[in-house]
């Protein structure tokens, strides 16, 4: 019996030592698991993003590499998500414009859940009839926010491209418009077609005004503007003038549903090429000052 009591005592002490060992390493282990869970949420979000969101927002969220179910490259109908404005800092320009008071995470999660039905973004949350459960929306949000990294957010924000202030100044800096390249830019690279439709099919515009009659908008919209002036302004400063010609009546805004960052994404030549594809006569500009010259 004494032997049994000795064994009991030793076993008990060993158990306590193991408990002690486990307790000492516990803070480090818990941190590893916290990171692992966050990491796996991002992985699961990546899976969902790849299967659902990448069709419109692009493979790396840059609204550049979008493919249809057959693997053919198509124009990206969604906005670029993997960029400074959305990811760096506490608040995004869009949150400011909308007067969003909550966190960025809630803003992204809310946008995924409720969608932006007026701008092609479907309602994804199951609460509103979409296909993603709330936890899945959380995973996708984590994945999107994980594009934020030091490289992207390092340093001061890039200098904005200074666009020529008038269309004649723009033409002076570019070659003649290439309609063939413009078609590719319109349909695929910038995905304009997703909202503005096929310029030869009236009524094919899903969200914004139809692109087929932009060349006929001389003086119609803004006094003193030609079609080229109007289009130049609409692409660079979409909220300056809200068109009355959206499919369901006057367009929403300001702010306009049209992304305001094309000025950061496209080159001068791209601008002229797209105008050429849409038959907008760049030489007919009234010379109106579209972009204010940078302040001294």
């Amino acid at each position: 019996m004494q032997v049994k009591i000795v064994i009991t005592t030793i076993a008990f002490m060993l158990t306590m030592i193991i408990f002690g060992y486990a307790s000492i390493r516990e803070p480090a282990r818990m941190e590893t698991f916290t990171n692992a869970y966050e990491g796996r949420r991002i992985e699961w979000g990546g899976d969902i993003f790849h299967g659902n969101c990448a069709t419109c927002h692009g493979e790396h969220g840059k609204a550049e590499l979008c493919y249809d179910a057959e693997g053919e490259q198509i124009g990206c109908a969604g906005l670029a998500l993997n960029n400074r404005e959305l990811l760096c800092g506490e608040r995004t320009p869009r949150m400011e414009a909308m007067g969003w008071l909550g966190t960025k995470e809630a803003f992204i999660g809310g946008t995924i859940t409720a969608g932006r039905p007026w701008a092609n973004m479907p309602t994804w949350g199951s609460d509103f009839g979409g296909s993603l459960q709330p936890y899945e929306v959380g995973y996708v949000t984590a994945y999107v926010l994980n594009w934020e990294d030091e490289e992207l957010c390092a340093g001061p924000p890039p200098e904005p491209v200074i666009w020529p202030s008038t269309v004649p100044d723009l033409i002076a800096e570019t070659a003649a418009g290439d309609a063939v390249n413009g078609e590719q830019l319109y349909n695929v690279a910038y995905g304009c077609a997703a909202c503005h439709g096929d310029p030869v099919v009236d009524g094919s515009n899903a969200v914004g005004p139809w692109a087929g009659n932009f060349q006929n908008l001389d003086e119609v919209r803004v006094a003193g503007y030609t079609a080229a002036d109007y289009m130049y302004e609409s692409i660079l400063e979409p909220s300056d003038y809200i068109s009355p010609d959206c499919p369901a009546g006057p367009c929403a805004g300001p702010p306009s549903s049209m992304p305001a960052n094309f000025g950061l994404r496209m080159s001068f030549q791209d601008m002229v090429d797209i105008m050429a594809f849409l038959n907008v006569d760049v030489s007919s500009s009234s010379g109106a000052e579209i972009v204010p010259p940078p302040a001294e």
Binding site: I18, F19, F33, G46
Partner: protein, 569 residues
Amino acid sequence: MATLFDEIRELGVKQALIAKADDVVERVTAGMNINDIRGMLRGDEPRRPNPRLRPHADSFWLHIRPSFYHAEVTHIYPTFRLGWLSTFMFIWETITGIFLMIFYTPSPDVAFENMWEIMSNVPLGQLMRDMHRLGAEVMVLAVALHMLRTYITGSYKKPRQFTWLTGMLLLVFTLVLSFSGYLLPWDQLAYWAVTVAVSAAESHPGPAFIGKNVNLLLRGAPVIGAGGLLRFYLLHVLLLPLLTGIFIFVHYYKVVIHGHSLPPGREAIGEDTAKRVPKDERVYFLPDIMTSEMMWTALTTLGLVGGSVFFYHAVIESHADSLVTPLHVVAPWYLSWSQGWLKWIFPNPLSAFAGPLEFDSKVVVAFGIIPLLAVAFFIWPYIEVGRSRRYADRRAGLSLSMFFITFMLMSNWMGSPEFLVQATSELEVSQRLMPQEGHSILLEVPYDEWDVGTYIADEATVQAMVNAGNLHIAEALEVYIKALEDWSCTKTGHHGMADCVGYDTENGERYTNGVKDEVLVDPYAAIVIKQDQSNVRTITIEIKVDDEEDPRDFYYTRYRHEEAAYEIY
């Protein structure tokens, strides 16, 4: 009676307090004072009348334990301590389970997150979960082995038939307890294992409304959701522990009434002398059995704690998803046999006259074989009434048990995806490296070991990885190559692969390697690593077959975050 103050006045403070403590100890132990306990632990002879017998008569906890045992049943043989171990595991599960209950809410909205919270934010939370899960497996094993031991030593025979019957009930409770706990983490493993098991109710051969309503009762809705989870939770933490606790008491009480059966050879055939223990062969519960149980408690605790800290980690898969069934859903090991039986074909011998060519295996298993077996087990001691417990007289019965064990082990193997379940060859290969759920040798390669690029599954790459010290990648590639050899054939004499043997199907010619059908012909196979985000990569399994008759083009991609830590969990 004198108050404490009277005694202090009479004996002085010290003596009065000692006398009071003695009194309290005697009341708590229902009969033993401090000196009795000290004497008992020193191994002294008890005073007369023996105070060590009084707790068995007067106390609640010891009245269901015999006051003495026959010396013959206190060794490892014939009991192997398995009944004790089963009870110990029940208590163990209760304690660790209560700890886990504190941090768990039975709702699909938060249950899965709760599990990760327990593991990442509760000190010793993972340990508690591991101990609970490991304990559940040990408990199932202990109860099953206890039953086997009882069968082999013939201890179920008269007068212990009813003890056997309550034991059978406890075995069923143990299995259902363990299985109902399966659902609670609300991961894919949980969700689908339980969905499959519960769907058996639907195959009820009687009127359709019975199966439908039983199913509704269990699931709480057409599919398992919030209602089903809450029901399984309540079963797991309330109803089944309560029933198990009650029947453990009944079972123990029967042991007090009948005593432990002696080893079969020790008594004359047909006699039961367990209660007639000669004085010199008595081993008293206090202190011998108690210290012995204390020792086993300490050792088992040490084993379970050490096992959970160093070896055993309960898995958690991805969030339950009622729309995605992972490939190769398997039942837990202790129920895998039933999954094996579901794959069997049950031909109808009378199909020439009536009925279908073969019966639905779900109906036969869930409403034929399993209930028949269960009834047979429950009433076995009332059917098998041979008087002798001796091994030599029970050759048929013992052979039957050995046959049954072999049969169950084989059925268990048949329950695994190895047996009669085949997805396409390329999917099977990718499943071995990177299954949709569960441990994956590819995901477990440390993040930093990979470089972005393509790793072709051949010996040269393995050698290059070994030379570069990337042993995890080398190991994964070796698994890859082995899987390819199992699921491929060669027309070009590829090393390690069997030659292709063609056969015609309605879709054109297909090939077999002699073991599997529709295998890959000289596949090109690789792992492609791409950078997705600055700390996330994608791992893609790529398999291509150029064959004219049976071309394949397969990709399967998983995301891998730098800190996902698959290598440690």
